[in-house]
Amino acid sequence: MITTKDLCMRFPDGSAIRYNDLCFENGQSYALLGASGCGKSTFLNLLAGVLTPDSGTVEIDGQNACTWSQRQKDDYRIRNIGYIFQDFKLLEDMTVADNINLLRLEGVDTSGIDGLLERLGILRLKKRRVRRLSGGEKQRVAIARALIKKPTLILADEPTGNLNYETGEAVVAQLIENAGSGTLIAVTHDDRLAPRFDHILDMNEIAHFEAGKEASERA
């Protein structure tokens, strides 16, 4: 279970985003909807430990992850979190297989790579360099990399943004199936896919943007 409390993230220009307290249960899937720039990606980064909040806490199974060292965060992320970034974050000069096998450096078992790529419809691209793939193909490679380690928490930032509706629907189904007893939290713009999730959260109501002056006064 993941709970957030009084989360606040400040930016270099002085502005800040404050989030309502949230709780994400195991075995549930969550769709985060909201306008661009409302703080959805920042929220995922805070949950993943990629960003550290200026105040507030992210508790994972009762432990405050914000107090973890960078090494502890890295370790938790590689073992438990499958993060699908909006801009994929793939090594462009390496092949699809190498991008996924990179996780072996941390002892992740990637032996199921062929089956996973097959299910995502990109097995034929296994030895192709990422640079030569389309946006949709890259997105599915990013999904494969996130799912290969069978994570207990899947964070997906616009995982269907570059896919057509049919493929997107299949990918969401794949993510929900893989989440299993874990938690899936996905940011999406596609209202048609949102009903597939157990819960729909409107980030326009959860995230509160404060301009520079307002933020500094509150601080």
Partner: protein
């Protein structure tokens, strides 16, 4: 990890090749400069150590030493052969070896002497000369011209190619010297009497022509081709019986104005001292090259790392630990450094082999296989330069989260 590191290197091969090449070129120059200067100095000192005295006609001590030790430069002139007998009968010497030079075979000097000059030097085939017009050929000369025992060689007048050939008196090759990596590889040895035979014959030819030249011209010709005629030699190489004998000989012959008596070791060390400034300049150049190397390699490594920073940040984001990232880059840079080291060493010694024949023609034979401890030290510095910048830079990224590096 290694497999992944190799794949990762393959994606950046252009940059890695450029890095390795810059290291190889600069390190090779440094290694080559150090190796050559050291081998030349050592070769000179080692060669001179065999004899404690050389007696020749009065003139330049350096010229006498270089001529008798390395068969370079022209002889100073001639002295009577009777001096050899006088020394042998003095009881002050273990050996008094006659030395004559003035002719050549394809620019390889013909050294008139006796078999004692070649003591300690093994023959790869054939036997030692014993009669006039017999010869033992140095390793490099035999290899270059494909000479074997039983072959005949026609020598020519003077030390350079193009002199009149002594076609009427070819020398018979009796033996081939084993490789010595000294000036002996580049010379042809024959009894001193051979030189007398060749030049008595030559004098018969010249007698008819001399009246056509003015006296001054004859004199210049004589100086230019200062051969040892019958009963004459160019110098005597001496091994004295001990320090007392050495002192006595020095006293006796330094008092005779027609002779020049030298200790070759002392003379050659003076020569080396004079060229010490050149050596210092070479070493300074080595240091400059190494500093340039340091700069070039560091800049390239840091630029590569700057490029790789995004990649490292990306790896961090997906949870790859800094330890793994460090190991990944360390393996890559170690491999690059090792390849650069091996290539530098190979390239510098390949260059040594290539210039070996050229330097050998000057009387100094380089051993291309010889590696000095200092060369390993240079290579170690090069290796550390290849690895350290990456280690330092990745360490500096260790405490930061991946997102802040993107």
């Amino acid at each position: 990890m290694l497999k992944f590191a190799l794949k990762h290197m393959a994606t950046r091969r252009a940059k890695l090749i450029m890095t390795a090449l810059s290291v190889v070129i600069t390190a090779s120059v440094a290694l080559l400069a150090y190796n050559i200067s050291t081998q030349v100095s050592e070769g000179i000192v080692n060669t001179a150590a065999k004899y404690d005295i050389i007696i020749g006609p009065s003139g330049s001590a350096t010229q006498l030493a270089m001529n008798t030790m390395f068969f370079t430069d022209k002889p100073l002139g001639t002295i009577p052969y009777s001096l050899v007998e006088e020394l042998q009968n003095s009881g002050l010497v273990n050996d008094a070896i006659p030395f004559s030079m003035g002719d050549s075979y394809n620019a390889a000097p013909i050294v008139g002497t006796d078999a004692k000059l070649l003591e300690g030097k093994a023959l790869s085939s054939g036997e030692m000369f014993s009669e006039p017009l017999e010869a033992v050929v140095g390793y490099a000369v035999a290899r270059q011209y494909g000479l074997k025992p039983g072959n005949e060689i026609v020598t020519s007048h003077g030390l350079n190619q193009g002199g009149a050939a002594h076609a009427e008196h070819p020398l018979t090759v009796k033996g081939i010297l084993k490789r010595t990596d000294t000036a002996y590889d580049n010379a042809v040895f024959t009894p001193v009497s051979t030189i007398w035979v060749l030049h008595d014959h030559e004098d018969e030819h010249e007698e008819g022509d001399t009246h056509e030249h003015e006296e001054e011209e004859d004199h210049e010709e004589h100086v230019e081709h200062d051969h040892a005629h019958e009963g004459q030699i160019c110098a005597v190489l001496v091994r004295s019986t001990g320090f007392n004998a050495y002192s006595q000989l020095m006293n006796i012959y330094s008092g005779k104005s027609e002779y020049l008596i030298i200790n070759p070791n002392t003379v050659l060390r003076e020569v080396l001292d004079n060229v010490d400034l050149s050596r210092k300049i070479v070493y300074l150049l080595c240091v400059v090259i190494l500093v340039m190397n340091l700069f070039v390699v560091s800049v390239i490594a840091l630029l590569s790392l700057y490029d790789a920073r995004k990649e490292i940040a990306l790896m961090r984001l997906i949870g790859i630990s800094m330890g793994s990232i460090n190991r990944l880059y360390l393996i890559q840079n170690t491999l690059t450094g090792l390849v650069a080291m091996v290539l530098s060493l190979s390239f510098s010694h390949l260059c040594l082999m290539l210039i070996r024949d050229f330097v050998a023609s000057m009387g100094i034979v380089l051993n291309a296989a010889h590696i000095y401890p200092m060369e390993w030290a240079i290579l170690l510095v090069v290796f550390l330069l290849s690895v350290l910048p990456t280690v330092i830079a990745t360490q500096r990224m260790a405490g930061k989260d991946g997102m802040s590096q993107l």
